[in-house]
């Protein structure tokens, strides 16, 4: 359904199309650059002027997932025909693989902490938002303001107290600690956003469900939740993006066991040379989960953002 008074002329449509495609190209250029660099060889990656056309290699990805050491001269002298493809690739550089790197472990930490904290932020945020929206909560407006006030400074401003608290509680470098922290930071966002979405749903639907023989919780579950799904999905995306990309707290509070990918990726750069393709490969893989999650919820996200505009 079109709400415009007059249909756009074909010239206007062309102009709009060019504008949108142009903008999309500009925003996607860094992404393209990162993805391309991941498939370049080390010399190509730092070539000047930059190479648009290059011979793709998975060297960067092999470096990302492995730890290597210089190949001893006697090992180099006795070529082995049964070498796996990645070992041969590494040997061309005079290196040999001694074991896996910690990238997959860090990546998995990010998945647990990112999705875990999103899950809790959404579940707790929805419950709180529903209560704020539907029940008489004493000092409701003040409470909502307090909740939002946690966002009025950069979270890192409280890094030192958090660091001390975490050390005292033994939460340093634990998955639980990071999930707790990211959940706490995201809760204000989720409570506010979801509260807005639930406020938009007329209370009459729940009343109808109560009359139709359902309990309060069943009415919430069967009537409110499906209608708030779009809002909840878009909130989940925002929460995940924050937790996934968070760098400062991750550097400060994790090291050995619970380190997430963001503080790890820069360390790939290595000691000797600067292994840009491996860094780019890590960044590319790091982008994927959020991208997939967002694409899966894309329909909801678009509707979620325009929620207020299309509802009657």
């Amino acid at each position: 359904m079109s709400f415009s008074v007059t249909e756009a002329s074909s010239r206007q449509k062309w102009f709009a199309g060019i504008l949108v495609v142009g903008y999309a190209l500009i925003t996607m250029l860094p992404l393209v650059w990162i993805i391309a660099t991941g498939f370049k060889s080390s010399p190509d990656a730092i070539a000047y002027p930059p190479k648009i056309v290059f011979e793709p290699t998975v060297e960067g990805y092999v470096n990302l997932f492995t730890t290597q050491t210089r190949l001893s001269s006697e090992a180099a002298a006795t070529p082995d025909q049964d070498l796996p493809w990645y070992e041969s690739l590494v040997r061309e550089k005079g290196m040999t693989i001694v074991g896996p790197s910690r990238f997959s472990e860090r990546f998995f930490n990010s998945v647990i902490i990112g999705f875990g904290s999103t899950f809790f932020a959404i579940v707790l945020g929805t419950a709180a938002a529903y209560a704020f929206s539907r029940f008489k909560v004493p000092l409701k407006d003040d409470l909502l303001f307090f909740i939002l006030s946690t966002r009025m400074m950069p979270p890192i401003a409280v890094a030192i107290p958090i660091f001390l608290m975490f050390r005292y509680l033994g939460l340093n470098d634990t998955h639980a600690g990071m999930i707790l922290l990211y959940t706490a930071v995201n809760l204000s966002l989720s409570v506010w956003l979801i509260n807005g979405f639930i406020d938009e749903i007329p209370v009459e639907y729940e009343e109808a469900a109560l009359i139709d023989g359902y309990t309060r919780f069943q009415a919430f579950y069967k009537v409110v939740l499906p209608q708030a799904a779009t809002g909840i999905a878009s909130t989940a995306i925002f929460c995940l993006i924050f937790a996934w990309n968070e760098y400062a707290f991750a550097v400060l509070l994790t090291s050995g066991t619970a380190q997430t990918a963001p503080p790890f990726i820069p360390t790939i750069i290595g000691v000797g040379g600067q292994d840009w393709p491996a860094v780019a490969a890590g960044a590319t893989l790091f982008l994927l989960p959020v991208m997939v999650f967002t694409i899966l919820l894309r329909k909801h996200l678009l509707r979620g953002i325009t929620f207020g505009a299309v509802r009657k």
Binding site: P202, E204, A208, L210, I211, D212, G213, Y214
Partner: protein, 335 residues
């Protein structure tokens, strides 16, 4: 089905008294219509019975059992909301199934299909069953909302202006349909409307609410022919009852301040002269706007009348109502 009793139900919202000591017995199988302007407490009365709101004081009894502390689901009532309140994420069929699939009723699928089939037939929404409710017209939404109540067999049906957004023909059809459903099944209904035809034709009892107080309760004829006050008299009658100072006509009893004349209480052709100011031909009847001693009157005359504005008609009250200064009936009832 069951008898529903309101006992001294009082409810306030802040400073506004929505219901003020309302007592009413809705007999098993009766069709009770609540009349009153917006804000009189009609919807609040429905919500008290449904359990969506609870009385500040007083009690609601369904089938002789006090409803104190019972959730709407535990009361087994069906309600048609004024704003339809159809679940927008469900299809028409799913909306109709919703109460039947509740933990309360937990109906077998075969029974669900049978009921939905018959209800959608009655309400003429069969071809819309698989549509999303958001894709329906206002009239269709209202029919689905009625259907969602009719699939059930509750202790009482509560309906809040269920026919208000239907076109005239469908409204007439559904009025007859609702009445015959009620008559055949012995269902008990508490029904809110502004529509006088609905009240007169469907109700077994009419309750007149004025600012939260139940001022009169009785059969539609009783309310029409023997109203307790100007307020109650004004609820029914098209065109509305004419209220004039009692002394403009001769023969008013001493002490009566106001006279109330329904069109049929104005005898034409004898008595004192009045001027015709306007003639409205409505087809089946003709309305006469009269000017009588500087007071405006509206009455009904023969559909094929030759009268036109400027003509003179003689009129005389015929068994009129008299009211005192406060608007209560003057004679026949009290003092």
């Amino acid at each position: 089905m069951a008898e529903v009793v309101l006992e001294n139900v009082t409810k306030s919202f802040g400073d506004t008294v929505a219901l003020d000591r309302v007592s009413m017995t809705i007999e098993d199988g009766s069709f009770v219509v609540l009349l009153g302007p917006t804000g009189a407490g009609k919807t609040t009365a429905l919500r008290m019975v449904s359990g969506l709101d609870t009385p500040d004081s007083g009690d609601v009894l369904i089938g002789g059992r006090s409803m104190k502390g019972l959730m709407p689901a535990q009361r087994n009532v069906a309600m048609v909301f004024q704003q339809y309140s159809l679940y927008p994420h469900l299809t028409v069929r799913q909306n109709l199934e919703f109460p039947l699939k509740s933990p309360l009723l937990n109906t077998l699928q075969a029974d669900i299909d049978r009921k939905i089939n018959s209800v959608s037939e009655i309400l003429q929404i069969k071809q819309k069953l698989d549509n999303k409710t958001t894709a329906l017209s206002g009239g269709e939404m209202q029919r689905v909302a009625i259907g969602r109540a009719l699939v059930r067999d509750p202790s009482i049906y509560l309906m809040d202006e269920p026919l208000s957004s239907l076109d005239a023909k469908l409204r007439a059809d559904l009025r007859i349909e609702l009445k015959s459903i009620q008559a055949n099944s012995g269902a008990t209904l508490l029904y809110v409307t502004h529509d006088q035809i609905e009240a007169m034709t469907m109700a077994t009892h009419v309750g007149v609410l004025d600012n939260g107080r139940l001022v009169q309760f009785g059969s539609p004829r009783e309310i029409y022919e023997d109203p307790v006050s100007i307020y109650a008299a004004s609820r029914l009658g098209q065109p509305r009852i004419n209220i004039l100072p009692a002394d403009v006509f001769e023969g008013s009893p001493a002490g009566a301040k106001l006279i109330g004349l329904r069109p049929e209480q104005i005898a034409q052709g004898e008595g004192e002269e009045s001027f015709v100011t306007r003639v409205e031909h409505l087809g089946d009847q003709t309305r006469l706007h009269l000017s009588f001693k500087n007071h405006d009157l509206i009455t009904v005359t023969d559909a094929h009348t030759e009268l036109k504005s400027g003509d003179i008609v003689k009129i005389k009250p015929d068994k009129p109502f008299y009211f005192d200064a406060s608007g209560d009936r003057f004679s026949g009832r009290e003092k």
